[in-house]
Amino acid sequence: MIPRHFYLAVSVLLLAVLSMGLYAWHMRGRAAATPVASTDTRPVEAPVAGPTERETLFVAYDDIGVLRAQSAQIPLPSVRQQRAEELLRALLALYLGKSSPHQLSHGSDIRSVYLVDPGLAVIDVNAAFADGHRSGVLSEELTVASLIQTLSANIPGITRVKILVDGKERETLAGHADLSGFYDVSAVGKMAEQMQAASQ
């Protein structure tokens, strides 16, 4: 004779197995419907541990066509070159966010920033950055000014900037802004002042 409580225990266990199976089946369906995180190539937040610092980012606003200085709390490493890279990645994270003031194409990233003494910084952006960039004099100028101003305002000693695309020189960013030469930081500073003052 099998005791009654044994029947009850087995029944409860079977019910639990069945309900867990159904729940697992339901979760599997939901997971399949959600885009896989690994295909999202947007840069994640700065992979830097440690204390954050308050830095000034020069953020482009497409709707009014201006450049605005904006302070942000960013975790930054102590090495100068890595600081430069993380600063620009923080700027890009703003542009790639949902409420982006200056839309950049999906997958845009900073490959590296090289600081070459005396005073030269080379910003190497990836191909997606340039290939998917919106074409237009103002739009491209805002991007160039935003990158150079953010870098020069936070990394002292930079006097000239060169922008490469995927490690190579390119004639223009997206048909307008010239990338063939070296930018003089003081001239870009004056250009940025015009862009901060004027709006439409």
Partner: protein, 496 residues
């Protein structure tokens, strides 16, 4: 008596018979000469490549046009052929092609290729249908080859010479052609027409084959291609003289009465009925200069250069799914030229068709024309109104060396004048309540221009893009820019 009469009759019949035979022979000879004269001219294929430009005879077999493959590839690389009927093998550099007489397929590097017709051998020469070259040549050459079958012109690689044409409103008018590479056409004329024939140049068509200039003296020009040559036929109401610049990139057609009675070398006098005058090559010596001496002392032919940005493969911003920036800029450029010329400003439009025009060439044209002001036109979908740009300088580049200006900073001495021009145009736009901003920008070729240079980016007045294509809006903006240039004309004209 009777026999004498019969003899006379037969003598007369003999004489008439000989005469009749002579008349028949003459008629037949005349018809034969007429047939030969009326026969179709020999067909040729013009080949344009970076290695060489040449021409080959085209033969007709089985109702199709054929070309000798060995002769075609010979100027382009190392080529050899071995005929072993019915097989024919051709080596081009390291590529092997195998052909079989009567077969319409060939094997190139082990892969089958369709010949669009049967392969033929004549006296050891391998003949392939002309229509097969589009698929056959890329296999041998490893790059693109484009055959224009209707005109028998073959372009190997991305080779092309583009041109712009504009009429200056000088009195009397002159038609100026600018080419992206040196050209040497033959010039011929007939009543009311002047014809430039380009046999060796990979000249390509403008966006519209018919160019209209709105001039009574030179109302239009027509571009066409035929039998391995490109031709520009200019309609004119008076005799014209053609002159070449020393670099062969500019041809100026001017009324003959303004020239001396005897034509200088390199200048062809045309326009007289039924004349056909070949012209001295522009590369040769003793050629009349249309570009003239160095910039500072050259006479100014055009006061303003209007440059429609982008063109050809470079579409600029995709303003909508059907609207490209390059199309808007051309429309604006034409309208601005009208507005400037109606105010007495002689204007040259750099790109008046859908042609690829490299940035350096734009700067080159602008600088060699010695104009007082250069206006680059852009269009954008973001923002509102008009944005005016001057060059972003100092731009770190090489320093000037002696009399030579640095290409990257050529604009440096003209920056104040460029800024004054932008301010003048901005003031006129504001009078019309148009939103306007004045900025400096890293935008080529502004920094390569030696004279006053501005770029104008036209955006719609609101979020709707349709005004960009609307004549009223274009007219409004073009009129204000023209007024701005007129307002600063004295200052610009005084500049070297």
């Amino acid at each position: 008596m009777r026999s004498i009469r019969e003899n006379r009759r037969s003598e007369i019949a003999n004489r008439y018979g000989k005469g009749l035979a002579f008349v028949w022979a003459s008629v037949l000879l005349f018809l034969a000469v007429l047939l030969v004269a009326a026969a179709a001219p020999e067909k040729h294929l013009a080949v344009y490549s970076t290695a060489a430009n040449y021409s080959l005879p085209v033969v007709q077999r089985q109702g199709q046009d054929y070309i000798g493959l060995l002769e075609l590839l010979d100027p382009l690389g190392t080529v050899s052929a071995k005929s072993d009927p019915p097989r024919w093998r051709l080596h081009y550099n390291n590529i092997l092609g195998e052909f079989t007489v009567g077969k319409s397929r060939a094997r190139i590097q082990g892969r089958d290729t369709d010949l669009s017709g049967k392969f033929l051998i004549e006296n050891g020469r391998g003949l392939v249908p002309l229509a097969s070259l589009n698929s056959l040549l890329p296999r041998f050459l490893g790059g693109p080859a484009t055959l224009r079958e209707e005109s028998n012109r073959l372009f190997i690689g991305n080779i092309a010479t583009h041109f712009t044409a504009s009429v200056s409103p000088d009195n009397p008018s002159r038609l100026v052609f600018h080419f992206t590479a040196p050209v040497n056409p033959s010039v011929a004329s007939e009543l009311g027409k002047l014809r430039l024939t380009f046999r060796r140049e990979p000249l390509t068509a403008p966006a519209s084959p018919m160019l209209t200039f709105g001039s009574k003296i030179i109302p239009s020009a027509d571009y066409s291609e035929n039998n391995g040559a490109a031709e520009i036929e200019v309609t004119t109401s008076i005799p014209l003289l053609a002159s070449f610049s020393p670099d062969g990139r500019t041809i100026t057609l001017a009324p003959a009465k303004s020239q001396t009675a005897t034509n200088p070398p390199g200048v062809s006098g045309v326009g007289a009925p039924a004349a056909s005058i070949p012209v001295v090559a522009p590369a040769q010596s003793n050629v009349q200069s249309s570009s003239g001496p160095p910039p500072t002392s050259a006479p100014r032919r055009y006061f303003a250069i209007v440059d429609a940005s982008h063109g050809g493969n470079d579409r600029g911003e995709a303003l909508s799914t059907t609207l490209a920036e390059k199309d808007i800029t051309v429309a604006f450029a034409r309208r601005l030229r009208q507005e400037l010329e109606s105010r007495g400003i002689t204007t040259l439009v750099l790109r008046d068709s859908d042609a690829n025009l490299p940035i350096d060439d734009r700067a080159y044209f602008a600088n060699t024309t010695h104009a007082a002001v250069y206006i680059s036109l852009h269009a954008a979908s973001n923002g509102h109104g008009v944005r005016l740009y001057t060059a972003l300088l100092p731009y770190t580049g090489e320093d000037d060396r002696g009399p030579f200006r640095s290409w990257t900073t050529a604009q440096s001495s003209s920056i104040p004048l460029s800024q004054a021009t932008a301010a003048s145009v901005a003031s006129e736009l504001r009078k019309l309540q148009v939103t306007v901003r004045t900025l400096s920008a890293p935008l080529r070729p502004l920094n390569n221009i030696v004279t006053a240079a501005i770029a104008v980016e036209v955006a719609p007045p609101a979020s709707d893009l349709s005004p960009l294509t609307a004549p009223d809006y274009q007219q409004l903006i073009a009129g204000a820019i023209a007024n701005g240039i007129v307002a600063i004309r004295a200052q610009l004209g005084a500049a070297p």
